[in-house]
Symmetry: none
Subunit: 244 residues, 4 copies
DNA sequence: AATGAATGAGGGTTCATTCAT
DNA sequence: AATGAATGAACCCTCATTCAT
C-alpha cells in the first residue's frame, strides 16, 4: 500500500488555511511598514499568493486591517482572563508566575505587533478604535484590575491611591515593551533590554510598591528585607544588587 | 522722519518664522495621520501657505519629517537634564516635584506627539532611528537613571535588582501616556484618565517601590510605614482612596 | 477537437507585444516633443494603454528613453554592415546602389528620429552618450570607412587628404537629413527637398569627388568626363539638369 | 576731486547691456539643457541677475526663446552675405578662403548652438519655424547657392545634377558640425574631429566634386593630381595622404 | 479558485510666473 | 529697476482595485 503522499500543504488544506495565512502575513507587513505604507502586493507575496487572491478573501485593504486587529489580540486577552480565573491563590503569586508568563508569551508572539498597529492607525480608522477599546483595552485592564483587587481583598496589597492608576503603572510598560519590540527594538541599536527579565523585574517592582508593608512582622522580626514576600519561596531571583 | 512701521507680519518676519510654522504644522499632521498617510498639502495648508512654499524650506517630505523629529524633543530632554542638575536635594523630592512637572509639561506640549511618530516611523527611516536613540532615548534614560542613582547614593532608595529596569518601569508609562494621548486618547472613547494625576500617582508608586524601608525606624520601633519623608511636607497629596 | 482559436489580440499576445508597442509610441512622442516636454500620458495613450501600464514595462521615463535609443538604431547599423559585407564588387557600385538604398530605408523608418533624439538628449543623459558613441556612431562610421577604403584599395578612389573627413562629408548630410525630417521638415514650410533624390545626388557627388580621374582615358583621349563607370549601366540617372 | 569710481560695469552700462546678457545666458542654458529642461532660474543666475529681473525684460520663457533665436544667427548669415558680395573673384577661392573662415568663426561662436536649438524646438514652437526658415535657412542657402552659381557661370564648376542638392551637400555637414559640437561633441568621448580642418577638407572635397575636370590641361600636362585647382597657389594643404 | 495584467485616481515634487517690498 | 518669496498648475510615479483568462 502506498504511503500517503507527503501532501505538504495540500490544496484543500491551503484553501481552508488561506484566511489565517493572509492575516498572519498582513499583520507582519502592517506592523513593519505601517498600514498606509504597506503594499497589498507585499502582503499577498508573503502569504504566498497573488495579489488578486487576497481580494477573494478580503474586499479591501482596510477590511484586511480590521480583520487583523479583530483576530489577533482578543484570544491573547481571553488567555489572560482564563489564567487569572483559573488560579485562586495569592495575587502576588499570580502576578509573579502567571502574569509574567502570560506577557512574556504575548511579547514573543506576532500578536504583540497589534499594539503598535493600533497606536499608529486608530485615528485613521475610527471603527477600529471602538473595537479595540471594547475588546482589548477594557478586558485587558479588567484582568489586571481583578488581580490587584484580589490582592487588596486578601490583604496582600494596601489599597493604592487610585486602583486604575496602579493598573496602568503595571500595564503600560508591558504594552510599551510590545510596541518597542516592533519599533526601535527592531532597529538593532545598542545593547537592548532583556525583555523577559524586565517583565519579571517590573512586576516585582509593582508588587513591592503595592505590598502592604508587613509592619508587625518587620518590627518584631527585623527582616528588614524589601517589602516583598517574606517567605521568598518564589521570590525574585536575587541578582547583582549588592546585598548590604 | 518716522522709521518704517513694523508693518505687522511683514514679508521679512514671515520668512523667518516659516520654518518653525511649518514644523509645527507638520508635527500636528504627521502625528494625526501618520507620515505615509499625511499629505504635504495638508501640512502646507495648516501652516497657512501653499504646497510649493513648503518645498522652499524643506527639500522633501522625508526631510521635513527628520526636521520635525530633530527639533521637537531634544529641547524637552535638555529641560529635564537642567532640572535634575539644578536641584541638589533629595531624589524623592526631585521625582515628586520636578520630574512630575517636567512630564506633565511635556505631555501637554505638542512635542509629546513625537513619541507616537517615532514608534510609527523608525523602521521606515533608519537614519531617524539613530538620531532618536542617541539624542532622545539615551539622554532621557540617563536623566532618570541619575535621579534614581542619587536616591540610592543618598540612602533614600535601596538598590533595585536592575537599575535600568527600574528606570524603564518609571519611564515607560510616561512615554506611553504621551503616545496614548495621540492615539486612542484622541478618539474620545469612554472616561479617560486624568493624565496629570496619573503621572503623580505613578511616580509615587515607583517611589514607594524603591524606597528603603525606614530601617532606622524599624530597629527603633514600628514606624515601618512608607519610606517617604516623615514630615510629609511635600508628600503625596492624600486623596480619597487613602483614608487616614 | 479544435484547438483554442488564436482569439485575436488575446491577453497573452498583447503582453508580449507591449514592450515594442510602447517603444514605438515612445519614439514617436519623444521625437516629436523632445524628451523633457513629452508626457508619459501621451506615450501610453499612443500605445493604446493607460499610464500605469507603461510603468509595468519600464521603470521610469528615463529608462524608457534608454530603451528607445538602445533598440532603434543598432539594427539599422547592423543592416548596413551586412549589406557592405555581402557585396564584394566595386565601391562605387556599393555606394550608388546599396548605401543609397540603405539610407533611404533608414530615413523612411521611424528609427530616423533617433538621430534627433540623440542630439537633443545626450547632454542630459550621459549614459546614453556612451552607448550611442559605441553602438551607433562608431560602427556606422566604420561601415562607410570600409566602403571608401575598399574603393581606395581597388583603385577606384584616390586617397583623400583625410579618410575620416571624407567619411563625414559623406555621412553627415545623410544624418542631417534624418534630423531635418523630424524638425523643420515636419513643419511643412516651403517646397521641401525630395529626400531620396538628394541621397542619390549626394552620394554621386561624393563619388565624383573621390574618383580617381580616369587617367587611362585621359592619356588616350579626352573622355575626361565624370569618373564614373564608362559603360554607365548603373550610372547616375541622367536628369533634367544634364542635357545629354 | 575724487577720481571716477572704478565703475566696472556701471549701473547704467549694466542696465543697457541686460537684454543682451540675458540672451547670451539663455542661449547657453537652452543649448545645454534644451528649452523644456532649462530652468529660468539658471538663465537668470548665469546672467547674474535674479529670476524676477528676467521677467522685466522678457515676458515669458517662450518669448525669451524667440528672442534668442531671432537675435543669434541673422547677423552671422548677414556676415556671409557680405563676404560673398564683397569678393568678386573665383568661386573656388571664395569657398576655400572665405566660406571656410566664415563657418569656422560661426562654429566657434556661441551662435552655433542655435542650430541645435532649432532642431530641438521648431516642432514645439511653430512661430519660430517660420522665422528660422525665412531668416536663416533661406538666406543661408542662398549665399552658398550664389557662390556655386558663380562658379558655374565662370566655368569653374560644371553644372551639377541639381544645384540645390549640391548646396545641401556642402552646407549640411557644416550645420551638423555645429550641432555636434553642442551634443555628443560636448560629452568628451574619444578623440574628436579637428573641426576646422574638417571644414577645410570638406569644402575642398566639394570643390573637387564640382570642378569641371580640366580635361585639356590634364591630358596635356599630365598633372595627374586631384581634380582640384591646377595652380594650387592656395590649394589644399597636402597632408598625410600618401603621394604616389 | 487563482492569477497577474491593466487601470486611474492620488500624491510628491518642480518650476514658470507673480508681486509685495 | 531689482529682488526673491510665494503660488499653483502640471507632471511623474505608485498602488489599491478590477477583471479577463
Amino acid at each position: 500500500m502506498p504511503s500517503q503522499p507527503p501532501s505538504g500543504p495540500s490544496r484543500q488544506r491551503r484553501k481552508e488555511a488561506r484566511p489565517q495565512e493572509l492575516l498572519d502575513a498582513a499583520l507582519e507587513v502592517f506592523v513593519e511598514r505601517g498600514f498606509a505604507a504597506a503594499r497589498t502586493d507585499d502582503v499577498a507575496q508573503r502569504a504566498g499568493v497573488s495579489k488578486g487572491t487576497l481580494y477573494l478573501y478580503y474586499p479591501s485593504k482596510e477590511d484586511l486591517l480590521k480583520a487583523v486587529i479583530t483576530h489577533s489580540l482578543a484570544s491573547e486577552i481571553a488567555e489572560g482572563r482564563r489564567i487569572v480565573d483559573a488560579h485562586a491563590g495569592s495575587a502576588v503569586l499570580l502576578l509573579r508566575e502567571f502574569v509574567v508568563a502570560w506577557w512574556a508569551r504575548l511579547l514573543d508572539s506576532p500578536a504583540s505587533g497589534v499594539f503598535k498597529l493600533m497606536i499608529t492607525e486608530v485615528r485613521n480608522h475610527p471603527e477600529v478604535a471602538e473595537f479595540y477599546a471594547r475588546e482589548v483595552m477594557m478586558p485587558g485592564e479588567q484582568v489586571l484590575t481583578d488581580v490587584l483587587q484580589r490582592g487588596i481583598d486578601r490583604g496582600e496589597f494596601h489599597p493604592p491611591a487610585d486602583l486604575r492608576h496602579a493598573v496602568f503603572s503595571l500595564l503600560l510598560p508591558l504594552v510599551m515593551l510590545c510596541v518597542h519590540k516592533h519599533s526601535l527594538g527592531a532597529c538593532s541599536l545598542g545593547p537592548s533590554l532583556d525583555a523577559h527579565r524586565f517583565i519579571a523585574d517590573h512586576v516585582e517592582l509593582l508588587i513591592a510598591a503595592l505590598s502592604r508593608p508587613a509592619t508587625g512582622a518587620q518590627a518584631q522580626g527585623g527582616s528588614g528585607a524589601a517589602a516583598a514576600s517574606p517567605t521568598r519561596t518564589t521570590g525574585p531571583r536575587p541578582r547583582k544588587a549588592k546585598p548590604r
